[in-house]
């Protein structure tokens, strides 16, 4: 398995001129692999568009930060605004794509990512707005949990973050398109077989034979 495989696979979804909001963790990491010559405009829900890497020490600005209040820089042509504008942008369907992590996804495109009853209490933050409003939703996650249990379910067991919104699932083992009727296996990671995916996926795979390996470099 190539290093940072998921992040690098996400980056293949970036198209020139796209406005994208990336969730924390692996999705954010995918920005490091944006193809040369492809302009991707990153949005941050606290009120910025076209932000760049973190600044050097001594060059940070206390009021230029990402949604985790961590220091970032603004690129030339970048814009700042308030959160009412930011969420109008998000909820109003102006952002081309969001990539987020998840605890579970199911064959109906439902996603659970914000709460484990009795265990994880964080609040949904901006996740529900992003999942509802962005034109395209990609979930990036490990194929199974740490016990090896499938995270792609027939039906999510955890409280949903949004219903019927997921367009694509990228895991360390495979890529699925999520269509109205269910899951389509589109790619396998290097060395992974379709049979293995079928075994590690609880949701029904509609096209078990039509996958392909694609090269991630």
């Amino acid at each position: 398995m190539p290093k940072n495989y998921i992040a690098r696979r996400i980056a293949k979804e970036f198209k020139d001129g796209m406005y994208v909001n990336l969730g924390i963790g692996i999705p954010t990491e995918s920005a490091n692999y944006i193809p040369e010559g492809t302009r991707v405009f990153l949005q941050t829900e606290n009120g910025g568009l076209m932000f760049g890497p973190k600044p050097k020490r001594g060059e940070s600005n206390p009021d230029i930060a990402n949604a985790g209040a961590e220091p970032i820089t603004m690129l030339p042509g970048g814009a700042v605004f308030d959160v009412a504008t930011s969420f109008a942008m998000i909820r109003g369907g102006h952002i081309d794509m969001t990539v987020v992590g998840a605890l579970e996804v199911d064959e109906a495109g439902n996603i659970a990512s914000w709460k484990i009853p009795g265990k994880l209490l964080t609040g949904m933050g901006g996740a529900m707005d992003l999942l509802y409003g962005c034109k395209r939703v990609i979930v990036a996650m490990t194929h199974t949990d740490k016990h090896g249990n499938p995270k792609i379910r027939k039906k999510c067991t955890l409280p949903l973050t949004a219903a019927g919104v997921v367009d694509m699932i990228i895991t360390d083992k495979a890529v699925f398109r999520v269509d109205k009727d269910g899951l389509y296996l589109e790619e396998l990671a290097p060395g992974v077989t379709a049979a293995e995916i079928e075994q590690l996926t609880e949701g029904t795979i509609l096209n078990i034979i039509e996958w392909e390996h694609i090269e991630i470099t």
Binding site: R57, N61, D63, V83, N110, L160
Partner: protein
């Protein structure tokens, strides 16, 4: 029209059981000095309204009031960054009122803009349905949320003039929205400049919304505070 007062005078506007909106975003662009004053004043049973708990790890931003056990109710969209707060919520010391972040923002905006409710599709098909009223418009289902207002809003801007006109730099985030939605609005700024020095297009919050201006840390001092926090947490 605003009046300039000290942070010590300003904090007296907040009493036990006040509802207090605090501007900023998870610790960024928050009114640092006023939060310190509220913590020092020790007022109790506050209903605190802010978009999310402070910087990761707790003890910063509203986290200072958490450590001090000054909060009885927290109205927000996210508490995941503050383990102390989560503990108080689980222990039923603090009541939690959640809405999705964009909905939270619109609820505050509605509170300031004289609108009766927020009607949004976000949260349909999730537990959020139980937090709102369901409504159908044009055959489509939506959730209806009530506006949010506070007794006092404490916000952060870059500069002010003596009329209370505020200029922001960088992400103004929740500050301009919260400036509209409280009975008393206190703006903490890095600097107070002459009338006319902030051009009409640079004014992010007109003085009409602001009751009191207080002088916070200078920009340079604030930069040091944030750089230290970011270096300590490996973010810079």
């Amino acid at each position: 029209m605003a009046v300039q007062i000290t942070t010590a005078e300003a904090v007296k506007k907040i009493v036990d059981q006040s509802s207090v909106m605090i501007g900023g975003f998870l610790g960024a662009a928050v009114p640092l000095k006023m939060i310190d004053e509220i913590a020092a004043a020790g007022v109790k049973d506050l209903t605190v309204i802010s978009i999310g708990a402070g910087y990761r790890g707790g003890g910063v931003d509203v986290g200072k009031l958490v450590v001090n056990h000054q909060i009885i109710k927290y109205v927000t969209s996210h508490v995941g960054t503050d383990p102390n707060l989560i503990k108080q919520i689980v222990g039923e010391e603090v009541e939690l009122e959640l809405s999705p972040m964009g909905t939270f923002v619109e609820r505050v905006r509605a509170g300031g803009a004289g609108l009766g409710a927020v009607v949004t599709p976000v949260g349909m098909g999730t537990e959020v349905e139980a937090m709102a009223q369901k409504i159908t418009v044009d055959g489509k289902p939506y959730l209806l949320f009530k506006p949010i207002r506070a007794d006092v809003a404490v916000i952060k801007a870059y500069r002010a003039d003596p009329l209370g006109n505020l200029q922001y730099q960088g992400m103004s985030n929740t500050n301009p929205i919260m400036a509209t939605a409280a009975d008393i609005v206190i703006a903490e700024v890095d600097e107070i400049v002459e009338i006319g020095e902030i051009a009409c297009e640079q004014i992010g919050t007109p003085g009409i919304f602001v009751d009191y201006i207080v002088k916070g840390h200078s920009y340079e001092a604030r930069k040091v505070i944030y750089e230290e926090m970011w270096i300590a947490t490996n973010k810079l």
